[in-house]
Amino acid sequence: MKRTGVFVCHCGINIAGTVDVKKVAKELSRHPGVAHAEEYVYMCSDPGQNLITEAIKEKKLDNVVVACCSPTLHETTFRNTSKEAGLNEFQCEIANIREQCSWVHKDMEKATRKAIKITKSAVERVRRNESLEPISIPVTRRALVIGGGIAGIQSALDLANSGYEVVLVERSPSIGGHMIQLSETFPTLDCSQCILTPKMVEVSKHPKIKLLTYSEVQEISGYVGNFKVKILKKPTYVDPDKCTLCDECTKVCPVVVSNEFDIGLTGRRAIYIPFPQAIPATYTLDIKSCPGLLPIACGKCADVCEPEAIDYDMKPDIIEEDIGAIIVATGYDLYDKGLMAEYGYGKYLDVLDGLQFERLCSASGPTQGKIIRPSDHKEPKEVVFIQCVGSRDPELHCAYCSKICCMYTAKHAMLYKHHVPDGQAYIFYIDIRSGGKGYEEFVQRAVEEDGVLYLRGKVSKIFEDKGKIKVWGVDTLTGKDIEIDADMVVLATAMRPSQGAGELAKKLKIAMDKDGFLSEAHPKLRPVESVTPGMFLAGAAQAPKDIPEAVAQASGAAAKAVAILSQERLFHAPTVAQVNLNLCTGCGMCVEVCPYVSLSLKDGKVEVNEVLCEGCGTCSATCLRAAIQVKNLTPLQVHEMIDASLGGR
């Protein structure tokens, strides 16, 4: 039988004041398998630890129980002590007789009896503990960042500047994301492009960053520190190295399609550069709108391309990368406008969404920063801004608050007033959420300095009438009906996870919340980690957020990734699930319940990925055949602990 040592701590009078520690030691010395039991005033002190070390050596103990304070305090201490004395660290368990006993009771006799049971229970457990070594895995010291918006850019730069190679994958032809579309940013009103383009250039020039635009993550396997990623690089049919940006090609291209960058306010050709500052600075041939790659079909662009940068034979490329950590920064899209018909969007040219309005305001936009109506190019004198379009509407649309709309609507109104000083801006709102540094002041400025009229209420109807857009609504503060003959209506539509994010999440095996945003591992304490070890979240992919928040989270995610990449090997607690293959019938119920995707079925039996398993044991309670259990807290151990807790009966 294994020889157990029991060490009962007085903790001064913290324990000894209520628990008869001598009696605990004496009772335990009679417990089967206990070869040594003693008490001491402070077990965690050096002399106390020495007692343990000596006893382990002299009494040839196989394992020890220290009856003392909560394991959260000194479990590590005593495990290290045991280790130094030659035991495996898991051959030490703590019996919590302070927080869970002496401190909460006054009756010495009863508290002593309870302490004895708690300690016996720990003895029964430790005797059945396996000696385990931390699971060690090598780390591929490279990161993958998915998404080239501000969050992805920030993460990539932080990682690269920490000295790690980064693969940055962006789905569209250029990085920059939605931020590059913005005119000015709140609350400082600095030019969005001016602050973002230097970062974009830094990305393109950074020796540690491998930028893959027009690319998508296709497949992912492996686990933390050791992912294998397959990336599909779609053909742009333009060799960026040869392209001189002369723009001759677009001039001859016969096809005009809606320009995504201006959200349809302008058109572009089938061969195009998304915007002048695009990174990589090159053209892309949009195969969907191109009449055909064969010179017979068209071929005009290739004809005029002097450097012969256009290559119709370009093929999709599958790039495989070994990756240690992944940051997902897939961003957001605006709520599907088709669902916003009630606001006349899509029906009336002068009903715009927030991003379109940004483009109208932008100096690089379709109107070079002049705010005019798309319908008749006249300057709008009355503009109605409507907040919470699609947000905070659990019945019909999204239940959540999109968080940034209050602020950007104030900004829009303000920018409008700056462009059209004699115009009137109205804002329909439910309430104003302006938490953030300088945010509340910004809103106040809009009201006080720019005379923006805030109307608390909902819009009931929008319709076109004699060149005006009639907006009917109710001011819920006054109870009065409101009717505005607007020249333009701007909708602050809800933010949604970007299109395709769900599909990607499935590939990555990251959970999504009910709205489709990616789930963080813990809402408070692990907000930038996904549930899957080694995968981190940045930006609006996780939840609606503004630029500073996205940037902060991106840096946070990068720091978390560095914590992995900076290790040569990763160590993982070895108290993980193990399978008894003889009992497993391969029903897969444990696979379904595992929160960490650490289980999978292989040849009709379940397999544990020890690196991913966190040892929660939900699998073990779900398994109908007792075929899976967590090391060192097995059903047998719990069974014996129950026995000891009930006084052996």
Binding site: H31, P32, E640, A644, G648
Partner: protein, 346 residues
Amino acid sequence: MQKILRKKSFPQWVKKLESYKIYAPAKNGDVWNYEAVNHSEDIDLDYLNSVLSPKKIIFPQREIFLEFSTSNDGNPEINEVLPEENPSVIFGVRPCDAKALTLTDSVFGGDFDDLYYWRRRDQAILVGLACHNPPSPNCFCLSVNGSPHSKEGLDILMTDLGDRYYVESLTEKGNKLLNLGNKFFEEPKAKDKKDLEKINLASEKKIKRRIKEIKKIPPQLKEMFDSPFWDEEAMSCIRCGICTYLCPTCHCFDISDEVLSSSPIEGKRVRTWDTCQFPDFTMHSSGHNPRPDKASRLRQRILHKFQYFVERYKNYQCTGCGRCISKCPVGIDIIEVLDKVRDYGT
């Protein structure tokens, strides 16, 4: 000793037996079983076959062999536990079930007397009731050297003559019991004897099921040990323990330690019924199992009863009570199995 007992006097006789623990068939829901009775009026001898035979009184499903505990010096202490001294009378024992006890007697006797069994056996007085009507449609006692009015193994045999019982004491124990109720008994008259004969003859005729030419079966079984027959027959077996637990002759058991307290060690070593139909019955801890499948276990049950037992104790280990047939959840019928055995290969 032969007597007549008026039916109305039966409870009065039983009342005289207050120094004994009385068992009799009792109905619980739809099922009959032997239970201890407190009031003589509660005894209803107009019963169908009990689910379990009176075996469960002599050889209870759980028997404590010994108690173990830890002494002050930490060493184990053991304490033999024997059944209490408590003479009992079991009423309404079917002749087949009484005969079954004579079969288990040979197992629990021999070189090593099983004290637990014998203490209960010796203290029990078996008062049988001849089967007027077969208590089960699957009765076949006549095929296995029994009869509905067999006296084998009984201390007293009662036969229902309508308004009265014909009571025959067969042993000293039986005589003692009759003497205790002396005044309630009458001497049998010629008519009583004639009625008895008539009833006995009639009752035999009412038994419909037979194993034909049973003598051919043991040698035939010996030849069929390796036959694929058993695989076929066992297809529908679900490996439950009904046939053996309900069998009045099956005696297999397990011995295990039941721990009540693990610190300090305290508990009981108990005997519980076990059955050759369970796979853990013969499985070694190495994982090897000499009888690894349903077929070999069904074969064991049949061969034990109709070959091994015959070779060892010169008797079939079956008294034709029909319980295993009636209660088998999948309709395995030992008579049909044996019929097939007999005709196998011909």
